[in-house]
């Protein structure tokens, strides 16, 4: 039982072994923050390999799921020690009329392993649903994905409704998806354009510092 073994379990996507080892390590007195730091390094390396497509999505998702399970084990210990607060809360979905999910799901995983709390509202989500879910969840950020040109206007529609309801300043709005661009984000008044999943956690973190 060692931190190296735990890192290996996360790298290979072995959820059960990861949970088991994390539990034993923390009960054996290993600082949960030290565990998180080591696993964060592992996930960074996995993220870089995935960005270069040296590994593919199934492997990256398995590692991410294993990491999420380990974080679940460690969270009570982190909170007991006064740490482990999420970086922020995100409501994430694909806009109305659009059924594509792969990009949104990768972003979700990247945010979760980057210590964001994410509420995934799925695909074909109405602008009002984004806003209501953000209200209920106490979100800091609303992330809206679109993969079709004709569904991009729903990103704008959501921002327009936020303005109309006087809630625009309450949330940071991030948009992304294959046909979207930084110019479109600026045109519709989004706070951030997310060009890819790999950079999402860092960009979201920076956004909340503004």
């Amino acid at each position: 039982m060692s931190l190296e073994e735990l890192c290996k379990a996360v790298e290979t996507g072995d959820q059960d072994k990861g949970k088991d080892l994390a539990q034993k390590l923390v009960e054996g007195g290993t600082d949960p923050l030290q565990i998180i730091a080591a696993l964060t390094k592992v996930m960074d390396e996995i993220g870089e390999k995935f960005a270069r497509l040296e590994i593919f999505l199934p492997e990256m998702m398995m590692s991410g799921e294993a990491m999420s399970k380990v974080v679940g084990v460690l969270t009570p210990h982190l909170k007991a020690g006064g740490g482990g607060e999420p970086k922020g809360k995100v409501v994430l979905g694909t806009v109305k009329g659009d059924l594509h999910e792969i990009g949104k799901n990768i972003v979700k995983l990247m945010l979760q392993v980057g210590f964001f709390e994410v509420r995934d509202i799925g695909v074909d989500a109405d602008p009002i649903t984004f806003i209501k879910q953000a209200e209920e969840f106490g979100a800091d950020i609303i992330g809206a994905s679109s993969l079709m040109t004709t569904t991009m206007p729903h990103q704008k529609e959501m921002i327009d409704i936020l303005k109309d309801e006087g809630k625009r300043d309450k949330y940071k709005v991030v948009i992304g998806g294959a046909p979207t661009t930084v110019e479109w984000a600026e045109e519709i008044g989004a706070d951030l354009y997310a060009p890819d999943a790999g950079s999402a956690a860092k960009l979201f973190t920076d956004l909340l510092k503004k």
Binding site: L53, F56, K96, L99, E101, T150, A178
Partner: protein, 460 residues
């Protein structure tokens, strides 16, 4: 018999097939099963050979795709159930389908036939920019494409606005945009003297309501035209897509199954993409009842398919289907570079060459990864189709195609991740006359002459 195959028996499985939590379908069912199948059939990607000549591996890929389709099926995200077929049903559907269709109307009708590996019959050429365009350029775009001599079918760009208002999917604006879309296509076809041209329309419709609203043999999408029905990546469908399949069957128009398996995504690498392409084709035939398949496998990071990790699965899946079925399927190019760049011409030539020698028909060309408005033109597609005709007419073999493909790849592959965006349509075409500018034409001619020197024997 013409498709659709056992329409209501298959549709009914949306309600009666095995239940599955959507979160589990891809990671727990699809990805591990595909990985097992790739290993079982010993499918191996070789980056040095974008056009392999391994007939046995092509046959194994066919078997692997069949097994994947039978084992995994198609997931309906509305009912959370999986539509599955038996070996007997797949065999029956493959036997019953036709290997040729007359498409289009009158003097402009064309016979579209199954192709074999190294076939000397030219490919069926569908021209499509695959991009969105400004409303004021749409009509010129239609004219420019419909003037292309080798055009057998046409899919127009996607309108972003209609009557100056943004088109929002599933709204009345989408129906209005679809109406404008097909009317302008019809008028353009008439003006250039090809009124019966086979259309794949309308791309402006993301929702089923937009598609269904323009089915009309007088002014709209005719029964001699085609619709595209998408499959969600990977191996998922939804009622809005099945609605289209039923509508096409009952209206009586042609339909194609649109799929984009992702290299680096749930399919894994090149081997998984090749197997998925075969499986998707069986899905199109058996579940959507389509007469052809329209495939655009693409790279997760770049959104293109002109690099070798995508050319290999295109090549292998093409051979697998050519050797083992009588299906019709188009290879949809996605290039990294934009219009009026030499890189785009090289990419298109390479994609067309590899596709045609391995049994595909052509659907060219999504320039600039179809991401940017107005950044595609008929001229790159023209070069692709001319390469396709030349490759077939001269009876090019796979070995020679492989050598030429490697030479073409050396001209652009290193720049795939950082390709030039090039020009917009109105910057390299005379919009009023719908002809390429001299500068643009000269660049096309220069690259065409270079490709000819590599061994492609253009008829003109």
């Amino acid at each position: 018999m013409s498709n659709p195959y056992r329409l209501w028996e298959i549709q009914g499985r949306s309600n009666t097939g095995p239940f599955c939590d959507e979160d589990e379908f891809l990671p727990k069912i699809f990805a591990p099963r595909l990985r097992e199948i790739v290993n079982k059939y010993e499918i191996k990607y070789d980056p040095k050979t974008p056009v392999p000549t391994d007939d046995k591996m092509a046959d194994r890929i066919w078997q692997a795709g069949w097994e994947l389709f039978r084992e995994v099926g198609l997931y309906n995200t509305d009912t959370h159930r999986i539509i599955k077929l038996s070996d007997e049903e797949i065999t029956e559907a493959l036997y019953a389908t036709s290997d040729r269709y007359w498409v289009g109307a009158g003097k402009d009708a064309v016979l579209w036939k199954h192709r074999s590996v190294e076939d000397t019959e030219p490919p069926f050429c569908i021209y499509s920019p695959d991009c969105t365009c400004s409303e004021e350029l749409f009509y010129s775009y239609c004219l420019a494409f419909l003037k292309e001599p080798l055009l057998d079918g046409f899919c127009a760009p996607i309108l972003e606005e209609s009557m100056g208002q943004l088109i929002r999917s599933a709204s009345p604006f989408e129906i209005n945009g679809c109406t404008e879309h097909i009317y302008k296509m019809r008028l353009a076809a008439k003006q250039v003297g090809r009124p019966g041209t086979f259309f794949v329309a309308v791309g402006t419709a993301e929702h089923d309501t937009g598609q269904i609203a323009v089915s009309n043999n007088d002014w709209g999408v005719r029964t001699t035209d085609s619709r595209i029905i998408g499959t969600l990546t990977e191996f998922k469908t939804a009622d809005t897509l099945l609605n289209r399949a039923v509508h096409c069957a009952q209206y009586g128009c042609y339909s194609g199954n649109l799929t984009g398996p992702i290299y680096g995504g749930w399919c894994g690498g090149s081997e998984g993409v090749a197997v998925a392409l075969v499986a998707y084709s069986l899905n199109g035939l058996c579940i959507y009842g389509t007469q052809y398949n329209q495939h655009f496998p693409f790279h997760l990071n770049w959104g293109s398919n002109t690099t070798r990790e995508l050319l290999w699965p295109i090549s292998m899946a093409g051979q697998a289907m050519a050797r083992n079925s009588k299906l019709l399927y188009t290879s949809n190019g996605f290039a990294n570079a934009g219009p009026m760049t030499e890189m785009l011409f090289y990419e298109t030539a390479c994609h067309a060459l590899v596709s045609v020698v391995t049994g595909w028909h052509l659907w060219e060309m999504a320039s600039t990864r179809n991401k940017f408005r107005n950044r595609a033109t008929p001229l790159e597609a023209r070069l692709g189709m001319e390469v396709g005709h030349a490759v077939a007419r001269q009876g090019m073999k796979r070995g020679q195609a492989n050598e030429i493909a490697l030479k073409l790849l050396s001209k652009y592959e290193a720049n795939a991740g950082d390709a030039p965006k090039g020009a917009e349509y109105q910057e390299c075409y005379d919009v009023a006359k719908a002809n390429p500018t001299q500068e643009h034409y000269d660049m096309y001619r220069k690259v065409k002459d270079e490709v000819a020197k590599l061994g492609v024997e253009f008829p003109f």
